[in-house]
Amino acid sequence: MPLLEVRDLRVRFGGIIALDSVSFDVPDDAIVGLIGPNGAGKTTLFNVISRFYPVERGDLVFRGESLLHERSQNIIRRGIARTFQNVELWPRMTVLDNVLAGYHSRFHTDYLHFVRAGLRLPGTRHMETEARDKALEILRYMGLERVAGHPARGHPFGVLKKIELARALASAPSLLLLDEPAGGLTHEEVDRLAGQLRQIHADFKVTLLIVEHHMNLVMRVSDRVVVLDFGRLIAEGTPREVQTDARVIEAYLGTQQNGAP
């Protein structure tokens, strides 16, 4: 059974059809690249999986169960975490607190947690220490331990992206949606990123669905690649298959008639 099945998905904003009849699978334990020109609907698809956008038709099936009736705040409890294209951190909280809040969904607790936290009952303190240790472990893994106590604002974009990735990993997801992980990175950093993503995939046993514009990176890191264009799926397959697909080349380069080389 695939981890995530996108079935005949249609998303409409007023008169604009952002996704139209999109179907593909994300196999368990794979790295899937999601590419397409600007406006193809890649981030829209992420926002649909996060349940931020409503679906007009079709279904999203995760581990055999539909996600469509899940509230957005519970998606992470199903095992799906994500990052954002333009980074959505909590700038005034420390880096450590950002990662700890990413751990939020893994606390086993109830509505009266705040009372026990205020009274500092041992159970709550124990949970807090445990979470803190795990968060620090992830920060160390990402090479961020030196900034743990600093506010999350004011770091270079590449570091912010790393902090966001650390926060997403803290929830121990089985599917991680990465929206342009190479954004803001230098050439050398992009080169290293492919290895790092493979390492994270292996170390955290997490399936990755990656939206990315760096073709080189996508082709190196992905097991499978899905290509969207104007809200439609135009190709799906191994990196090699996709690279030689006539429709993909057309979507990226334009047709001969349009005067493109």
Partner: protein, 343 residues
Amino acid sequence: MRRLPRVRPELLGLAVIGGIVVLGVPTVTNQFVTFEFAKVAIFAIALMGLNLLTGYSGQISLGNGAFMAVGGYTTAILVQRTGIPYWTTIPVAALVAGGFGFVIGIPALRLTGVYLALATFALALSVPPVLNHYDTFTGGHGGIVMPAVLPPFSLDLSQEQWLYYMDSGIALLLFVFAWGVVRSRTGRAFMAIRDSETAATASGISLAYYKTLAFGLSAAYAGVAGSLLAIATSYLNPDTFGLSLSLALLVGVVIGGLGLDFGAVFGSLFVVWLPYYAEKASGLHIGALSFAGKPDIFYGALLIVILFFAPNGAAGLLQRAWRWYLHRRTAVRSPLPEPVAER
């Protein structure tokens, strides 16, 4: 690096000095000053509550005076009607006001920013008329007179001294409680909602639960403050909880330092003492200029000056000074400055 907040000896020293000052104030001052410092403790509690709501969870409230009214009237009515000891009404006031705040928090879910400020402003506006209207319960304009509070266990304390110690003790307990909440899963959820609702939702944080919880907690703190104010003054009327009270609370929490633990303490010092010193200053004559009877000029001018030089409030200013001090200390000992663990 395993346990981030190490207690530095400097902090311990400051805490000891602070403790001595807090314990010693009423032994060296007169009754008036002692009573004003009891009010500082009371307002500190109200500001801790407002800080949880506005400072930590980012929801602006111009209506926390209304929650104080609920707490104050709960205590006054219970004492007047049933004659139970005044101190038993304090937790009741917290629960009633907290429940009220929680309910107010539900419609507030749909409002943010300026719109939430306006809606809570309307709440503050409506308090005196509502209290006047239901005068069978509240005594209307005349208010409610309660028996004066006497020190228990025949302690050798004046009434003001007892009020001061009781209110300070409760303020300290509630400060410790808020400190624990802020550094927990709940506190992080508050701040996450303040800084990015999108990221909070994606991280599994329920906006509905934490926003209403912030309102409820904030109102419970305000309820305790209102209850203690009623006990301290042994008299309440609707005008005690007018719009100016709610405005003073918001001014206090901003001047003190939004989203900073000690903001409430500094804020309440300003709320209680700034009008007093503005009044004193209005007696000044500068050349031919006389400001007699116009203390608001000084109040306003001081406010602007403070906001200009300490945009993050008094607590923010001190935090910066503390970081500068730490930075200087560590820079001397090691070439690499350590990250600062505090917020």
